[in-house]
C-alpha cells in the first residue's frame, strides 16, 4: 500500500436530519444544516485552499486563505466559518479571492525559512502545498525586516521537536491540544507579530503540562512540530493500517514506513475506537520492537541455574513437546497447563487454549485477565448475561452524567479520556469514586461535581448506599425494572435496610453521607447516566460483588440499553476482552460456555476430535499453589511476566522454582524467564497478522508491518508444539483460525477477515441477527432475558491495617508506562517515569520524617521493597500509592494472596503496609518475608 492520506474536509461533520442545498462552483451539493461552506465544497469535490482548518478541529478563521465569494453577499468570507444556507451559490476561484490568497501566502512565506529541499516535512507540508495551489511566484518583502527565522528550537521532548522558526501561528496545535486531547497545555503567547506557540508559561514541552499525545504534531501544517523519527529517517512512503498493542482502547494506527523501516505511527481517522487520536504510548513508544534486548533465537537449558543455549526452532519445539509429555506420563494429564496473554491476538490465544484442551487434554488454561478483569466477566454475566461492557466508546458523547469508579482514564485509557473530557466540557456532569484525587477530579475545563473519596476496599458499601438512596427516595425507573428485570423486590428490600444508608456506612467508607446522597440523586435523575470503571473496582476481595452492585444500580435507574448509558469496564491491556472471549478461562470454552455443558463440548469435540474434560482446570493462583503442592509440574507462559505482575512474588517464584518445566514465550528475557527452561522468542504486534478485541467489544485487524524477526509466527509455534505432542494442528494463515473461531462461537459467526477488511472493525455479537455487529448491548432485552438483580452484601476485606502496618497501599499505572514496563521501559518513555514512585500524603510523610524525594522502605506482612517517595495531597491520609512498572522495585513483593471471592482476582488495591525512611545500604533492595510453600501468612486481629 502507498502512503495513506485520509481526506480532510476542513471542518467537522455536523450530523443532523435537516439539510440545505448549495452550489459550489456550479456543483450542487446537499449537506446537513450547520455544515461549513468549506466542508460542503470538499463534499462536492472542490478543495478550497486552507491552512488553519482541519476537520478534527472547530473552524477558527485565522489564516484567511479559504476566502470565497458568495452570490448576494458582500466581501470575501472565510469558507471555514461560514455555514451553508439553502440556495447559496459559492465561487471558490475568482480573480478577487485568488489575489487575496496570493497576498496572504506572500506574507506567510516572507517569514518562513526557504529550506524546503532539506526540510523534514518536504512533501508533507501544507504550507508548501498551498504556495503551489495559490500560484505564489514571488515574495516582494525580502527577509531584511523583523522575522522569526532565528527562533530557538525546543528539543526537550524525546519524540518530537518544536521549531518556532517554521511556525505560521495558525493555532492548530493549540486547538488540537484543547479540543482533541483536552489538556490545554499549549497557548499562543504574545500579541500581533510577537505571537508564538508556547507550552505552558514559557516552559519547554518537557517541563509543561504536555502529555505528548502527538495531536499537536499531527495538526501542524508545517515542520514546526515534527516527529524526530521523520527528521532522522526521512518521510515515509507507505502505510499499513493496524491496531495498537497497548491499552484496552485499541486505537487504529497507520504504521508509516520507508521501505521496511517503520518511521512513525499515525492515528487513523477511520479507527472506530480512536477516530484519529492517540496517546504517547501508541503514537511514539514502538521502539521496543527493534530494541537490542529482544531475543530472536529459541533457547533451552536443563536447569534454571544453567546458562542458556541457543537452538534451532525444531529442537526448542521438540523439547517443549517431549518434556510436557514426560511430565504428564509421570504426574498425570492435569500436571501441566498454560497461561494465555492479553497482549496477543485472538488467533494466538485461541490456539493456545486449544493446545491445552486438545493436546494437553485438560482445562488448565488461564489468562492474565485473571489478575485484572475476571470479576467483570463474572459480575456482568450474572446480572446481564454477557461478560462484556455494554456500550461503544462513542456512546459517552450522549451521557449526561458520567460516573468514573476506580479508574484513572487520563493515565490508563487516555484516548477514551479525551472523548470523555470533550463531553464533560460540553456540560455533562461528573462523579468520581476513588480514594485518590485523580486528574479528572479537577483539570482544565473539567471538574467533578462529586468526588467520593472512599476508603480502599469499601466500594460495595458505597454502591449499596447509592442504591439505598435510589430505592428509598423513589428514584427507581419502575417501567424499566418491571419490563426488563427480575429479582428486584429482594434486592430493593436489602438495599433499603437502614444499615445500607449513606449515614450508616459513612464511618466505614469515609464518604460524607450528604455528598453520597447528592451523587446518587445526580446519577439516578440524569436522562442518561453512564458508569465507567477500572481495576479499582475489580482488584478487590469483593471485585465481583462490586461489578454486580454497579449493574444493579444501572438497572434500577434504567441506564442500560441505549446510547449514553451503560456499565463499561475500561480494560487494561489491548486484548483483555479478546483473550477472555477466546476461551482462556479454565472453566469456559470460547464464547463463555461452561466446560460442563455437554452440548457445547460436543461442538468442539466434533471439530477438534477426542474427548474434552468436563471439569474446570486451575486458575493462575491455583496453578501456583498446585506447583508448590507438587501436582502441577509444567507451565507454558505466553507473553506474560507473572514473576513481576502477579501478587505476592515470593509465592510466585517459589511456584516457578518448584516446576520441572517452565516455557516462556516473550519478546524479552523477562523476570519469569529467570525461572524458565525453554525460551521461545515472540513477535511484536508489528510482526503479527490477526485481531485484537478492545474494551467496547470491537474486533480490530492487526496487520503485519514487518516479517517476524524470529522467523516464525506465534500461532505457528503453538500449533507445532501441539503437533509434536501428537495432536495434529495446522493453519495456513490467521484468517483460517478466525474462520474456525467463527464456526464454533455463536457471538462470532459473522466475523471474518474479509468482513473486518470491508468494515474496518466490528463489535461482537456479530452474527445473523447482527451482521455488522452490535455497538450497544441489551437494547430490547438482556442477553440472559431479564436483567437480574443480585443482593450484594458488603463484606470487609481480610486485609486490615494494624499497628505494625497502619497504612493501606493501592497500586496502579501511569500514563507513560504500561504494566510491567517490558515494552515502555525500552522506549523514550522512561524520560517521564524512570522509576516507580511511592505517593503519600504530607501528614503521613511528616509523621515518618519523610521528605519529598527520600528513599523509603515499603513493607507489608509478606515482603518489603525500597523506592522513592513523592509527597502528594492527592492521596488521602492513611493511603499510599505506587506503580509496578519497574522490576527493580518489584512492587508486587508486598502485595498479598487476598483475592476476589468469586474469581481469585488479586486484591492489589488493598495491602496493609508501613513506610519508613530507607537506610542508605537498603536502597534498591527488595525482599520477601520468610513465607514459603502453599500455606501463606495472614494477619488475624
Amino acid at each position: 500500500m502507498s502512503l495513506l492520506k485520509e481526506p480532510d474536509f476542513g471542518t467537522p461533520e455536523r450530523p443532523g436530519p435537516a439539510t440545505v442545498s448549495v452550489e459550489v462552483d456550479g456543483f450542487p451539493v446537499t449537506v446537513p444544516e450547520g455544515t461549513s461552506v468549506m466542508r460542503a465544497a470538499a463534499q462536492a469535490g472542490v478543495d478550497i485552499p486552507k491552512l488553519c482548518a482541519n476537520d478534527s478541529l472547530e473552524a477558527f478563521g485565522s489564516c484567511r486563505l479559504c476566502v470565497v465569494e458568495i452570490d448576494g453577499r458582500r466581501g470575501t468570507p472565510a469558507s471555514c466559518t461560514t455555514p451553508c444556507a439553502d440556495g447559496m451559490k459559492v465561487s471558490t476561484q475568482t480573480p478577487k479571492v485568488e489575489k487575496l490568497r496570493q497576498g496572504v501566502m506572500e506574507l506567510y512565506i516572507s517569514d518562513h525559512p526557504l529550506d524546503c529541499l532539506t526540510c523534514p516535512a518536504n512533501g508533507d507540508c501544507e504550507l508548501q502545498d498551498m504556495a503551489g495551489v495559490v500560484g505564489l511566484r514571488q515574495v516582494r518583502y525580502g527577509y531584511e525586516g523583523a522575522n522569526h527565522l532565528e527562533a530557538e528550537k525546543d528539543t526537550s521532548n524525546p519524540y518530537f521537536d518544536f521549531d518556532p522558526s517554521k511556525c505560521i501561528a495558525c493555532s492548530r496545535c493549540v486547538r488540537a491540544c484543547g479540543e482533541v486531547q483536552g489538556t490545554f497545555a499549549l497557548t499562543i503567547e504574545g500579541r500581533g507579530f510577537d505571537s508564538k506557540v508556547s507550552p505552558g508559561a514559557g516552559e519547554s514541552f518537557m517541563d509543561s503540562e504536555c502529555v505528548s499525545c502527538g495531536a499537536c504534531v499531527q495538526a501542524c501544517p508545517t515542520s514546526t512540530l515534527q516527529e524526530r523519527s521523520v527528521v532522522e529517517l526521512g518521510m515515509p512512503t507507505r502505510s499499513v493500517v493496524t491496531t495498537c498493542a497497548y491499552c484496552g482502547v485499541g486505537c487504529s494506527f497507520k504504521a508509516e514506513l520507508r521501505g521496511d523501516e517503520l518511521v512513525r505511527m499515525v492515528p487513523h481517522k477511520d479507527g472506530g475506537a480512536n477516530e484519529g487520536h492517540s496517546c504517547v504510548k501508541g503514537r511514539f513508544a514502538f521502539g521496543y520492537a527493534t530494541h537490542p534486548d529482544r531475543v530472536l533465537k529459541p533457547m533451552v537449558r536443563e536447569r534454571i541455574t544453567d546458562p542458556w543455549r541457543e537452538v534451532e526452532w525444531d529442537e526448542a519445539i521438540g523439547t517443549v513437546a517431549r518434556r510436557m509429555r514426560e511430565l504428564q506420563d509421570r504426574y498425570g494429564t492435569s500436571s501441566v497447563g498454560a497461561i494465555t496473554s492479553s497482549r496477543c491476538t485472538n488467533e494466538e490465544v485461541y490456539v493456545v487454549q486449544k493446545m491445552v484442551r486438545a493436546a494437553f487434554g485438560n482445562n488448565n488454561v488461564d489468562t492474565c485477565a485473571r489478575v485484572c478483569h475476571s470479576p467483570t466477566g463474572y459480575g456482568l454475566k450474572q446480572t446481564f448475561g454477557e461478560s462484556a461492557g455494554t456500550q461503544d466508546f462513542r456512546s459517552v458523547a450522549e451521557a449526561d452524567v458520567i460516573m468514573v469508579i476506580g479508574a484513572n482514564p487520563t493515565d490508563g485509557h487516555p484516548v477514551f479520556a479525551s472523548r470523555m473530557k470533550r463531553r464533560l466540557r460540553e456540560g455533562a456532569k461528573l462523579i468520581v469514586v476513588d480514594p485518590r484525587r485523580i486528574d479528572l477530579v479537577r483539570s482544565p475545563h473539567v471538574e467533578a461535581q462529586h468526588h467520593l473519596q472512599l476508603r480502599p476496599s469499601t466500594n460495595v458499601a458505597v454502591v449499596n448506599a447509592m442504591a439505598h438512596v435510589v430505592v428509598t427516595e423513589g428514584l427507581v425507573d419502575r417501567p424499566f425494572v418491571d419490563a426488563r428485570c427480575e429479582d428486584f423486590d429482594d434486592w430493593a428490600e436489602f438495599v433499603a435496610r437502614p444499615e445500607n444508608s449513606p449515614e450508616a456506612v459513612e464511618p466505614i467508607t469515609g464518604v460524607p453521607a450528604a455528598e453520597l446522597r447528592a451523587a446518587a440523586r445526580l446519577y439516578a435523575t440524569a436522562p442518561n447516566g453512564a458508569i465507567y470503571y477500572g481495576l479499582g473496582v475489580t482488584e478487590h476481595s469483593q471485585g465481583s460483588t462490586m461489578v454486580m452492585g454497579m449493574a444493579n444500580l444501572a438497572m434500577a435507574c434504567g441506564n442500560i440499553g441505549r446510547d449514553g448509558v451503560g456499565v463499561n469496564p475500561l480494560r487494561g491491556q489491548n486484548n483483555v476482552q479478546g483473550s477472555c472471549d477466546m476461551g482462556s478461562f479454565p472453566h469456559e470454552l470460547p464464547g463463555y460456555r461452561h466446560v460442563s455443558d455437554d452440548a457445547v463440548r460436543t461442538v468442539f469435540e466434533n471439530l477438534w476430535g477426542g474427548t474434552l474434560l468436563a471439569e474446570p482446570g486451575l486458575r493462575i493462583p491455583n496453578m501456583f499453589d498446585a506447583a508448590i503442592d507438587g501436582t502441577f509440574r509444567g507451565l507454558f507462559v505466553h507473553g506474560e511476566d507473572i514473576a513481576q505482575s502477579d501478587p505476592n512474588l515470593k509465592h510466585v517464584t517459589a511456584a516457578l522454582e518448584a516446576m520441572e518445566l517452565v516455557v516462556v514465550q516473550d519478546l524479552f528475557l523477562n523476570e519469569t524467564a529467570k525461572f524458565a527452561h525453554v525460551f521461545l522468542p515472540g513477535a511484536s504486534f508489528l510482526e503479527k497478522d490477526g485481531t485484537f478485541t478492545n474494551a467496547e467489544r470491537r474486533i480490530n485487524r492487526v496487520r503485519a508491518v514487518m516479517k517476524p524477526k524470529t522467523g516464525k509466527h506465534e500461532w505457528q509455534i503453538v500449533s507445532e508444539i501441539a503437533t509434536a505432542m501428537g495432536y495434529a494442528m495446522s493453519y495456513d494463515h490467521p484468517r483460517a483460525i478466525m474462520d474456525e473461531i467463527a464456526s464454533v462461537t455463536p457471538t462470532f459467526t459473522g466475523v471474518s477477515f474479509d468482513l473486518l477488511d470491508k468494515l474496518g472493525s466490528v463489535q461482537w455479537p456479530c452474527n445473523e441477527e447482527a451482521p455488522e455487529g452490535t455497538p450497544i448491548m441489551h437494547v430490547d432485552e438482556f442477553v440472559r432475558g431479564k436483567g437480574k438483580f443480585v443482593v450484594t452484601s458488603y463484606v470487609p476485606t481480610n486485609e486490615r491495617s494494624t499497628r505494625r502496618f497502619p497504612l493501606v497501599l493501592t497500586t496502579g499505572r501511569i500514563l507513560s508506562q504500561y504494566n510491567v514496563g517490558a515494552q515502555t521501559r525500552r522506549t523514550g518513555n522512561v524520560a517521564w517515569h524512570p522509576e516507580d514512585i511511592l505517593e503519600l500524603h504530607p501528614h503521613d510523610a511528616e509523621d515518618r520524617g519523610i521528605k519529598d524525594g527520600d528513599m523509603v522502605t515499603l513493607a507489608s506482612r509478606v515482603g518489603r521493597t525500597t523506592l522513592r517517595a513523592e509527597i502528594s495531597d492527592r492521596m488521602p491520609t492513611g493511603v499510599v500509592y505506587t506503580t509496578f512498572h519497574h522490576p527493580v522495585t518489584g512492587a508486587n513483593v508486598v502485595t498479598t494472596e487476598n483475592s476476589d471471592w468469586a474469581t481469585n482476582c488479586p486484591e492489589y488495591k488493598v495491602t496493609a503496609v508501613q513506610v519508613g525512611l530507607a537506610r542508605p545500604e537498603r536502597h534498591s533492595d527488595t525482599e520477601a518475608s520468610d513465607v514459603t510453600g502453599n500455606d501463606l501468612v495472614t494477619v488475624v486481629d
Binding site: S334, E615, A626, S899, A902, D935, L936, V937
Partner: protein, 70 residues
C-alpha cells in the same frame, strides 16, 4: 498474631462470607454450586480432606456445601 491459612480453606471461607447473607440451605447450595463450577477437582479434594480432618477453621456453611458436593 499471625496464622497459616491453606489456600483452599481461605478461598472457601471467602465464598461463604460473601454468600452468607442467603438463608442457610440456599447459601450451602450456592457455595457448592460455585465451587463445583470454578474449582479444579484437586482443589475440591483438598477441601474435602480439610473437612474430613475436622474442618478446623472452615466456615460451617462450607462444611454444609461440601456435603452437597460429595
Amino acid at each position: 498474631m499471625t496464622a497459616t491459612v491453606p489456600s483452599e480453606r481461605r478461598m472457601a471461607n471467602d465464598i461463604a462470607r460473601n454468600l452468607g447473607h442467603l438463608p442457610r440451605e440456599r447459601a450451602a447450595e450456592e457455595i457448592a454450586g460455585h465451587i463445583g463450577r470454578f474449582w479444579d477437582p484437586r482443589m475440591r479434594t483438598r477441601l474435602y480432606e480439610f473437612v474430613d480432618a475436622g474442618a478446623d477453621g472452615l466456615d460451617p456453611l462450607v462444611v454444609a456445601a461440601v456435603k452437597l458436593l460429595r
